[in-house]
Amino acid sequence: MSTQPGSAYSLDTREEKPETHTMTVLVDNEPGVLARVIGLFSGRGYNIDSLTVSETEHEAHLSRITIVTSGPPMVIEQIQHQLERLVPIHSVTDLTVLGNPLERELAMIKVAGKGDKHAKAQAIAEEFQAHTIDSSAGHFIFEITGEQSKIERFISRLQPLGLVEVARTGLAAISRGAERM
């Protein structure tokens, strides 16, 4: 008998590097549809790095879900095809495979601080072209839109200046060019 180690489960032998992909999913806006998508991810052990959902075509009752996920290429391919099996799903597009999608996130950031810190926070906000949507002598709430890396940089710059809390929407994404996905 052979004594080589081995496994009947394929995931153990995969040594491919994980990749991060952004997928956009068009679904019927009906009760439970988000639970189906999330349940698929948790049930099959896939990662969700970010997920956003909103009705985008009111007359057709279609919602658009943007999911950022990570995994080895074979798992990424599985995720797309597993999603496609769900009955209320109209289409699944891997925007990362299409190439260089436009990705944006919105964040609202509350900073509390007086004097020098207050002024510094305002200066950084101007540098990042963030809007001030609420303020007093002791606090600011900034609104910023952009790629996730920009928001991360903005938050880390505000960190020492009295960062109180952050609300982020998660990523919305769209493919470049004139075509519909």
Binding site: G6, S7, E77
Partner: protein
Amino acid sequence: MSVRLKMSRPMTGAQMVLQALADQGAEHIFGYPGGAVLPIYDELFQQDRIKHILVRHEQGAVHAAEGYARSTGKVGVVLVTSGPGATNAVTGLTDALMDSIPVVCITGQVPTHLIGNDAFQECDTVGITRPCTKHNYLVKDVNALSRVLHEAFYVARTGRPGPVVVDIPKDIQFAKGEYTGLTNSQHKSYNPRVQGDERAVAQAVELMASAKRPLFYTGGGIINSGPVASERLRDLVHMTGFPITSTLMGLGAFPAADKQWLGMLGMHGTYEANNAMHDCDVMICIGARFDDRITGRVDAFSPGSKKIHVDIDRSSINKNIRVDIPIVGDCAHVLQQMIDAWQAKKPKVDKKALASWWRELDRWRARKCLHYKKRDDVIMPQYAIERLYALTRGHDTYVTTEVGQHQMWAAQFFRFEEPNRWMTSGGLGTMGYGLPAAVGVQVAHPDSLVIDIAGEASVLMTMQEMSTAAQYDLPIKIFILNNEYMGMVRQWQELLHGGRYSHSYTAALPDFVKLAEAYQAVGIRAEKPSELDDAIKEMIAVKKPVIFDCRVDKHANCFPMIPSGEAHNHMLMGDDVTEQDLENAITEEGKVMV
């Protein structure tokens, strides 16, 4: 979805259920009443188009519907109440999902205004059944009910089939609304493709024509595709002259008597089939899914082959094993495309290489891997199946099984020549499947011989369905290979756990002959090989349900076997297993797997 004209008329939700079932061609429904489905049961009472079979437990209702579906190709229908009715159905639904069996399960629900209130017999049915159905619905508007019911049947049978739950609150069953008949409109999002990509088919045929050591590896997808797929498979296999093996779920799609048949593959498959999988250079996988019981070690799975994979479910392709030519489509359609392409191409196959491949296959066959030692004093379980097969030939026979050693012996020793004759729980491995499945098969085929090849442990899990068989005069035959052990558990304990048989022996089993009599059935017992044939003949002749207590060798193991974590060419064989082999059979890594 269908071609009948749309028509609307007012009726209650409960009436719509019956009307939709009739419009969908359902003739039988397996169910169990309860508070939340009483309006539908009241409608059932007042009509005679649809025959209701009262089961004894909701799990049995789903398994019966599965047996019905698998043996007819139709959608099986289940009706259960809310709460425990729905939760009891979950095992059956999961079984149907894993084995791709089309079932529509209608569940009652507490009235809409009580949903979320922890009402009596309330449960979150759509939440609980979401991961164990292909799709499910909660109907909150009576005017949507008929559309949802028609869609449920469409989803259950289209693409890769599966179970669909329609949860109907009691107030919706009472409410009046507009019934809509079948329409021919296309589904707005779910439209699986059936035709394969022509370029991929051409590439596949090209690859097949160049093969030196080709092999067909087929599965339950052929059966699900319908009888035409089995016919086309036979045509293509004969046309090419290639050998063929099949998964547990695919048995019968290709005749076992054919000389190109290698037997089943996988963990308890034949030596010739598994070695052919390992050594082939072109693998043509049709309607199978590279399940872990088939592949063994994935990093040592068929290392030298180019792989073609035909499947209607895109997510089955490249899930476990990377393939070279994926073809998404229905088996019958793609097989026809392959036949057309093969005939158009008139390929010059490498006859010399193929002849040499067949000589190799014949050498493996000569190993006679299913050989076992016959005994005069005790019935060997393999012998019991061989005799059962021999004595039922010529009958119009359907076989169901429970799960365990008896199931594998049935797969190895009972030979199937036609599709839809073999009903077994493959994916989920549900002990207790076979008896209620036999009930469903017998309902669909009242004059046929329906046998559940069972183990004494499995069959006790759903034994109460004997009462259903008695009520409806269903002459099912429960053929129990009784070794007093959960045989497959015991076999693994022998291989993995030093022979410490922890709780795998059932002391205080019932007297199955008396149990049969208690269920108004006939009990037969055989203890010696010499009395086996007459006892089986008696079982076949009896026109009543039978429990056959076949006392077999208590320590027989199921071979050949690919130990967990091994490759296809490392098989344990029954006739040369030593104590040492058993000790060393499974590596430390293999021990963590089932």
